[in-house]
């Protein structure tokens, strides 16, 4: 799988996860790839941990505590890029 298609797959899978688990609160929201999940109020600190756990278990990526940042997990696109970067290591 190319890096681009893997990124797309990560974004799509995480979009489905966020929609199923957090958008019940805001069904009117159409989630964009770059939307700030914290700023939208969709997830809290524990929700953030859920995202990290999902990325770890779904994509086999080991996440160090220092990598748990908004830059890496704050949006669907950020998570896609994070997984893609790890895939290249």
């Amino acid at each position: 799988m190319t890096s681009t298609s893997r990124t797309g797959s990560v974004v799509d899978q995480m979009r489905t996860f966020v929609e199923e688990n957090f958008l019940y609160l805001r069904p009117e929201v159409v989630l964009g790839d770059g939307d700030d999940l914290l700023a939208l109020g969709l997830i809290d600190s524990m929700g953030f941990v859920e995202l990290v756990e999902q990325v770890q278990s779904r994509f086999g990526v080991q996440v160090d505590d220092a990598e748990i940042t908004e830059a890496n997990f704050g949006s669907l696109a950020a998570m896609g890029a994070f997984v893609a970067r790890h895939g290249q290591e």
């Binding site: 019940y24 069904p27 809290d44 600190s45 524990m46 941990v49 505590d65 940042t69 997990f73």
Partner: protein
């Protein structure tokens, strides 16, 4: 400790039905299981249910000093009644009983509302003056004891310790107050005078409400918490003051016990109580199966070190689930936490062991800055003013897992609310409480609230002095008025313990201790390295050193597991069904299913969704039991009243 209630008519020729008073007595029986009394006159009826603690033989109510004179129904205790009685006797007053009730009655007769500042205690009372046909409702300084009232369309006033008494009278019908509910789902309790019931008010703490001729003619504070005071505490050190507060609160003609959480405050009180009492002290604790909530090793350590007769109530998820409904019924409000459930079960346990009075440590964290909110607001302010210090936020709440304090955490603390907001200190908690629950409101509920949230109304109700206070002083006032009284002393305090006729006593809420604490230099309460500094210093002489130094562990109980584990009761799924939610009409039935699904799947780990689950579920129970067509209805009390006063008599017959 008792329950009080009554009806006063604008038209004196309109009688108050005996049956209404007897139903009110039945609705308040749990508060006063030892018997009840009535007073009846033209257009007035009063009722009292009694938990006998002082002068077990002579203390029945309603109480009247002379035929045709004013009448008192009174719930609570005035602890300095012996000293006040001595003063009255010196003034030539003859007292017939050894009760604080009679002391309060005679003081009110002689001094009116100016007598109130003399009273050191926790009380709610109704004082009826037949001549002017005037009813005065009074509540203690911190609002330990409840007092509710409603004005009917005809100008009659119906009052009672608990809202259930008002509804039992048949004069008032229960219906939800959406703004009151929004208070609960924001700051954990409806703020007085508002309640969660439409057209039912509470007397505000430290206030007196006067009704006359069909309307409320006075509603004003006789005491208010001045958190910004700067008195010099040097003339009166803490230890003798706290000791005296404990000594006064051990006054009873029954055995007094203590709740022991294992933390600093209750341990300190227990140590002082043992020194001030010549009787063995029994202590009671909640222990949890789940080690995340359990403090039992600390409790055992303190009990063993002090030599109390210690009783442990072990609570598991099924106990929370089984006890939830009855706890909500007694609280008479939706809850955001399950923590009141074990407290009610603990009161039941104390009662089963023959204890009807317990000393407990509420108030210490507000007065001596023990709660995290005080450290939190200082760290948040620093991070706003000096963004380089934002990492200090990560050091808050060390008991949480590191990952839980990641970016979401920092954002929640730093971005919640405008730094200029007078409610800055309480924004993170309010946002966390309301985020999920508020998103589940039905559209028509949202429209009726009309964009005016609980915090908007709170901002409009702040005292004039608020602007002049610093962050910690503001947070202290907000803790006292938005959490301590509406939640900790109510659903988790009075309503939980009085459900089983057990009276909680709060030595830290002696107004002298409060005023002392407010006058302490800040560093005596909260320093860079420790909270409750003055208390810890005292504790080092009375408690094992590790207990005196122990950081606070927030008291919580399991919230999701009890309702979705293998032992979850069947009613939970029914109550959370879309149809049941729509029938109640507060939460969107379909939208809430997302939360239910996540709870069922075991995904919920965070506070926001856990609080939302408890909020939604308790709203269902509360509505069904208090507002719905199948709500609790009380039969008339059929036993003989212990006293019946005829208020139209102008002379008493003297029997041999």
């Amino acid at each position: 400790m008792c329950g009080v209630g009554g009806v006063v008519r604008a038209d004196r020729d309109e009688p108050v039905a005996d049956g209404a008073l007897r139903r009110m007595a039945a609705a308040l029986r749990h508060r006063g299981p030892d018997g009840y009394g009535l007073a009846r006159g033209a257009g007035v009826g009063l009722v009292s249910t009694r938990l006998a603690i002082v002068d077990l033989v002579g203390g029945w109510q309603p109480m009247q000093a002379r035929p045709g004179g004013p009448v008192l129904v009174y719930n609570g205790e005035v602890y300095n009644h012996l000293e006040l009685a001595a003063d009255l006797r010196r003034e030539g007053v003859h007292l017939r009983t050894g009760t604080d009730t009679e002391v309060v009655l005679r003081l009110l007769e002689r001094r009116g509302l100016e007598a109130l500042p003399l009273l050191n205690g926790q009380f709610a009372l109704a004082w009826w003056e037949p001549g002017p046909r005037r009813l005065t409702l009074v509540r203690d300084r911190f609002g330990v004891r409840p007092l509710h009232h409603a004005l009917t369309a005809g100008g009659d006033l119906v009052f009672g310790s608990e809202p259930g008494a008002l509804f039992a009278s048949g004069e008032v019908s229960p219906a939800p107050d959406l703004h009151g509910l929004d208070d609960v789902f924001t700051t954990w309790g409806a703020r007085a005078p508002r309640t969660v019931f439409r057209d039912v008010s509470q007397v505000r703490p430290g206030h007196a409400v006067v009704w006359q001729a069909g309307r409320v003619v006075h509603d004003a504070a006789w005491w208010s918490p001045d958190v910004g005071s700067r008195t010099d505490p040097a003339h009166q050190p803490l230890e003798p003051l706290l000791r005296d507060s404990v000594r006064l609160r051990l006054r009873a003609d029954v055995d007094v016990g203590a709740y022991l959480s294992g933390g600093l405050d209750s341990s300190l009180l227990t140590a002082l109580a043992l020194q001030e009492s010549d009787r063995p002290l029994r202590t009671f604790s909640v222990a949890f199966d789940d080690p995340r909530y359990d403090e039992s090793p600390w409790q055992q350590q303190v009990a063993a070190a002090l030599g109390t007769v210690h009783h442990v109530l072990r609570v598991g998820p099924s106990d929370i689930a089984d006890g939830f409904r009855e706890t909500v019924v007694h609280a008479a409000t939706p809850l955001v936490r399950t923590a009141p459930v074990p407290m009610r079960l603990l009161a039941r346990s104390a009662r089963e062991h023959g204890i009807t009075v317990v000393a407990t440590g509420e108030g210490a964290d507000e007065l001596f800055l023990g709660y995290d909110v005080f450290k939190e607001v200082l760290a948040r302010r620093r991070s706003v003013e000096h963004p380089a210090h934002a990492a200090a936020l990560d050091a808050l709440y060390p008991h949480l897992a590191d990952r839980a304090r990641g970016p979401g955490w920092r954002r929640a603390l730093s971005a919640a609310g405008d730094a200029a907001d007078p409610l800055f200190s309480h924004q993170p908690r309010a946002v966390a409480t309301h985020a999920v629950t508020g998103a589940l409101y039905r559209e028509d509920v949202r429209q009726e609230l009309d964009g005016v949230g609980s915090l908007d109304r709170l901002r409009a109700q702040l005292p004039l002095a608020f602007d002049g206070w610093d962050d910690v002083e503001r947070a202290t006032w907000l803790e006292l008025t938005t959490l301590l009284e509406p939640y900790l002393l109510a659903a988790q305090g009075d309503r939980a313990s009085m459900a089983h006729g057990v009276e909680g006593r709060y030595p830290f809420l002696d107004h002298r201790v409060f005023e002392h604490a407010m006058g302490l230099p800040r560093a005596e309460r909260l320093s860079a390295s420790a909270d409750k500094v003055a208390l810890r210093r005292l504790a080092t002489r009375l408690l094992p050193p590790e207990v005196a130094a122990r950081p606070k562990q927030p008291y919580r109980a399991p919230e999701v597991l009890p309702f979705f584990g293998v032992d979850a009761p069947a009613w939970v799924a029914d109550a959370l069904s879309p149809a049941a939610l729509e029938a109640t009409g507060v939460f969107d039935g379909q939208r809430a299913q997302g939360l239910v699904r996540r709870c069922r799947d075991g995904r919920v780990q965070g506070q926001r969704e856990a609080m939302a689950l408890v909020s939604v579920l308790s709203t269902q129970v509360w509505f069904e039991e208090h507002c719905g067509p199948g709500r609790v209805r009380h039969d008339e009390e059929t036993s003989r009243p212990r006293v019946v006063l005829d208020l139209d008599e102008t002379a008493w017959e003297v029997s041999a």
